[in-house]
């Protein structure tokens, strides 16, 4: 493994800016690493070596011409296959979009290019971002670099595994119920879900539009903040984008790294500190809380009584929105078409196409959503879930009147063995128990590695008020300064 692949994004950018390494050298080192390990990890669905080297050459030429480079210029980045990339295959982990080459870039991809980052390729994910293990990808599972027989989390398991395997120093994920934070936790990497509306959804293939939030993944808190700053901010092409500047997450990460949390009040969510998490995870979490106390933080317990109902509310709201969003996959404008023999009707071709193109979890969610939205059940299921969503948001508001940020374990359990939860879909849903409330509320959340349980990573989640993303970066960076970063065994 080259030294260049073990560096942080901030270090790589400094080397490139200072002329100590070229962007092409950095990119080639990561492409070599991918070639060496990705047949075992399977983090990538598509590697764009040619595009990456061309982008790297452009950065080197700009530097040679004396142009000022941005803080991430020349840094490779892996992009979850949920974002459209012009001319580069985008599958969303589904057979229904196999071979599709989008005619346009997502806003985030445009901003990554403008920042001078180098896109290495597209990462594996649960089909349409529905899952918590990346086992629901139509292209086979991604493996956790900490133990290749275990899951890397999901839906963004490919992005998290690429970081943990040193195939990329930065990655993009998307978080609808925990798909950035949970993979971060189980791979020992950092994953941040920005405030909903703080990052653009333009070009993000929709799953649940009121919850979907793209965001940064990295191996350090500062790198995540640098990436957050590069991709965040208002986008007129996304009507739910918040027309305000990105909170100063980079300054907050640097402040946190000084290791001083004096005057910061943190609330432990009572409902998530006892039952529901395995003992090993809770033990590591409690040690992390002690570390935060030593850094000067004041810790109090805060009850959020409706968080208990977040999981059932989410698994009504998200499938309802999914059943509506995925109606666009009709075999007409893009992707697969099956059974069009000249005799079958549009409706028959549509049904055959969707049957062949969607995997079992996507079908389950479409049917649950169709059920929850149907006239006889709407009030009892979808309508009631929306009211519970209000109560969960009120719990957050009440909690943030008492504390600056909330903390919990990111996930109830460490990475589980591949195949352990696929036969019982509801057991899979429990992986998102602690991450889902944030999505329903719309605030930001970050997972930062805080220790190991039986040799497997445990993440601590920091949740902050809407548009106070900087607060969570400060707390996460402070914890990182105390507990360090975690490196998996050599692959």
């Amino acid at each position: 493994m080259s030294d260049l692949t073990t560096k942080t994004a901030a270090e790589i950018a400094a080397l490139v800016a200072g002329g100590e390494a070229s962007a092409v050298e950095v990119t080639q080192a990561h492409l070599d690493r991918i070639a060496a390990v990705d047949d075992r990890v399977h983090a990538f669905l598509h590697v764009d070596a040619e595009g990456a080297l061309a982008a790297a050459r452009a950065v080197d030429e700009r530097r040679a011409a004396g142009e000022a480079l941005g803080p991430l210029a020349g840094v490779p980045v892996a992009v979850k296959d949920v974002l459209t990339t012009k001319g580069v295959p985008t599958t969303v982990g589904s057979k229904i979009l196999e071979g599709w080459r989008p005619p346009y870039d997502a806003t985030i991809v445009e901003r990554l290019r403008a920042a001078g980052t180098v896109m290495l390729g597209k990462t594996n994910m649960d089909e349409f971002a529905m899952g918590s293990s990346t086992e629901y990808s139509a292209y086979g599972p991604t493996r956790n670099p900490w133990d290749l027989d275990r899951i890397p989390g999901g839906s963004g398991g490919g992005s998290a595994a690429a970081l943990a395997a040193y195939e990329a120093p930065l990655a993009i994920g998307s978080d609808t119920g925990g798909s950035i934070r949970q993979p971060g936790a189980v791979t020992g990497t950092v994953g941040a879900k920005p405030t909903y509306g703080g990052t653009s959804r333009y070009g993000l293939v929709a799953f649940s539009s009121s919850l979907d939030t793209p965001g940064p993944c990295a191996r350090t808190v500062l790198d995540a903040a640098l990436l957050h700053e590069a991709i965040g901010g208002h986008d007129p092409r996304d009507s739910t984008s918040i027309p305000q500047p990105v909170p100063d997450v980079v300054a907050a990460a640097k402040l946190g790294a000084t290791g001083d949390l004096t005057g910061v009040r943190l609330g432990i969510v009572t409902e998530f500190a006892g039952e529901g998490a395995e003992p090993g995870v809770l033990a590591v979490f409690r040690e992390a809380v002690d570390a935060l106390t030593k850094l000067g933080a004041e810790i109090v317990e805060v009850s959020c009584p409706h968080f208990t109902y977040a999981l059932p509310a989410y698994y009504l709201i998200a499938p309802s929105e999914c059943s509506s969003n995925l109606a666009r996959f009709d075999g007409v404008r893009f992707g697969l078409r099956v059974g069009d023999d000249g005799n079958r009707s549009l409706e028959e071709v549509m049904s055959l196409t969707r049957e062949a193109g969607f995997g079992p979890e996507v079908k389950r969610r479409i049917m649950i959503g169709t059920y929850a939205l149907s006239s006889g059940y709407y009030d009892a299921y979808y309508g009631q879930a929306q009211k519970v969503r209000t109560l969960i948001s009120r719990d957050f508001t009440a909690a943030f009147a008492q504390v600056d940020a909330l903390i919990s374990p990111t996930t109830p359990f460490v990475a589980f063995p591949i195949g352990a939860r696929t036969s019982d879909p509801y057991q899979m849903y429990l992986a998102d128990l602690f991450t889902i409330p944030t999505n329903l509320y719309g605030g930001p959340g970050i997972s930062v590695p805080c220790g190991l349980s039986d040799g497997l990573p445990v993440g601590l989640q920091v949740m902050a008020p809407t548009m106070a993303d900087d607060r969570m970066y400060r707390v996460a960076a402070a914890l990182e300064s105390a507990v360090g970063t975690f490196t998996p065994p050599a692959l």
Binding site: W100, P103, Y104, T240, P312, M367, Y371, K387, R389
Partner: protein, 101 residues
């Protein structure tokens, strides 16, 4: 008592335009039943007077200036289509035989 029957799942599959197999119906019926029984817990919350939240960002209509901006060419827009004809998406027949004749 089961929350959903095999017949209801078959109906949902038709509404969802999914040509599921008999074998899938057997599997899905049991799985959807477990999921629906679990998510029905939302009914335990007393929320009669609570307004629903559809979205976390308070939204009013978001409008933009009516100015021309570059857009996809017809070739680009049709580039991913399974079938195209005369710069249009070609679709399978929409009307039934007897209605069309």
């Amino acid at each position: 008592m089961a929350a959903i029957s095999r017949e209801e799942v078959a109906h949902l599959a038709r509404l969802s335009r999914l040509a599921v197999t008999e074998e899938e119906l057997d599997t899905f019926a049991g799985q959807l039943d477990v999921i629906l029984q679990a998510v029905a817990q939302v009914g335990k919350v007393a929320a009669a007077d609570i307004p629903p939240t559809s979205h976390s960002v308070p939204l009013t209509n978001v409008l933009r200036e009516d100015v021309e901006t570059p857009c996809l060419t017809p070739e680009e827009a049709l580039s991913g289509a399974p079938d195209a004809e005369q710069q249009r998406f070609r679709v399978p027949r929409i009307l039934n035989e007897d209605l069309a004749s």
